[in-house]
């Protein structure tokens, strides 16, 4: 089991995102990925939706979370200082623990 309180911590951090997209240009994976889910704004929003129980995990969501480098470039650019690596890593952990509603097949890929 992931550490107690992880879910709350991740959800709180993800909930701080204002969805402005200022972080995206700094992200190395976004420009090679097929969609916004390969960037910080998308990853945080996907994590939020999964953690709030608004959706079940999908293949694209899992690919989004697991292609993050945890490099933290986004965090430096975020006006609100959202800790994206914390959200992504935490969401991975919760997903693998099966608490986000089962596991699905994922196919990480480049755009095109």
């Amino acid at each position: 089991m992931p550490a107690a309180g992880l879910r709350e911590r991740v959800l709180e951090e993800a909930g701080r995102c204002a969805y402005c997209g200022f972080c995206e240009a700094a992200c190395p994976t976004l420009r090679h990925g097929p969609h916004r889910g390969y960037g910080p704004r998308g990853r945080v929003e996907i994590a939020r939706r999964l953690l709030e129980g608004l959706s079940k995990p999908t293949g694209e969501a899992v690919a989004s979370l697991f292609t993050c480098l945890l490099c933290g470039a986004c965090r430096v650019k975020c006006p609100l200082g959202v800790d994206v690596p914390l959200v992504v890593r935490g969401a991975r952990s919760l997903y693998l623990a099966g608490v986000l509603g089962g596991r699905v097949g994922a196919r990480p890929r480049l755009r095109g």
Partner: protein, 324 residues
Amino acid sequence: MSALDQVLSLMAEYVERTGFPLPVPKGFQYRWAEPLGLPRRGRVYLYTGALYQLAPYVEALVEQLERVEERPGAGIVLRLARAVSRVVDLSKIAVRPDPARVEQVERVLRSVAGLLRAAGVEYAYLYEDDLYSGILLYDMGLDEAFERHARRVYARLRERGAEKVITVDPHTTRALRQVYPEYVPGFDLEVVSYLEVLDEALGAGRLRPSASLGLRAVIHDPCVYARFLGIVEQPRRLLRAAGVELAEPPRSRRMTYCCGGPAEAVLPALARRIAETRMGELAGVGDTVVTLCPICLVNLGRAARGRARVVDAAELLARAFGAG
């Protein structure tokens, strides 16, 4: 269970069984130290976390699996899963690292050892207890496996009487300094990077260059040093003292750009593209690139393709501080 899950559990299982995330020969992590005769017991230990030593194996495994699986676009996890289900036992995949790469990372570690000695630091080495930190498990979200492993590693360090460890790469430093305390009850170890140790010695006049390298190089900050640990100026001060004229790429220090390495496990083609982008930036500024992390070293080294020489800072420093 999906391919991704499958491979992650395999990785976890592998760490559980052997202590390392992929098949490696016994003793591979301390071979570099054998000619040095470092003391085995002490209170301050050099702890490599085996990441430099693992890097050539990761490189080889990824390349091998890419060759096995012709289908383009399919991620490494798929290929790995397929390869695994074909041979059932992961240990049957013989990973043959490039001997030149193995030699290179071992040279880096010997350089670090020499530098610490040159700075008058007293330390011992862990040899068979120089275990992998498990950071990949943590990053991938395999918290349970990570926690078990971290506790084992910590227990082993305490058995050896460690009070302080000197680390050599950013990921292991972060693992011990920022992550272990959250997962290991009663964690009580001082964790310093060799760069911090050397920088302090330099400032205090305990470490003095015996030669000036008179060379120009571009510095590539590893993300984890620059953004998670705040280790930015230390390597710069040391390299300058070594007579290296440092050039900065367009994105450096806190705004540094990832080498792409962390994507290797999930989508190697992505790792390649990012390394390519970064290499382009670095090579535009100079033809010698200095790195401070085994993952950067391998990933950028492979992307360089003759455009630049990629070297680890420790190797350069060792030459200037007479620790070669």
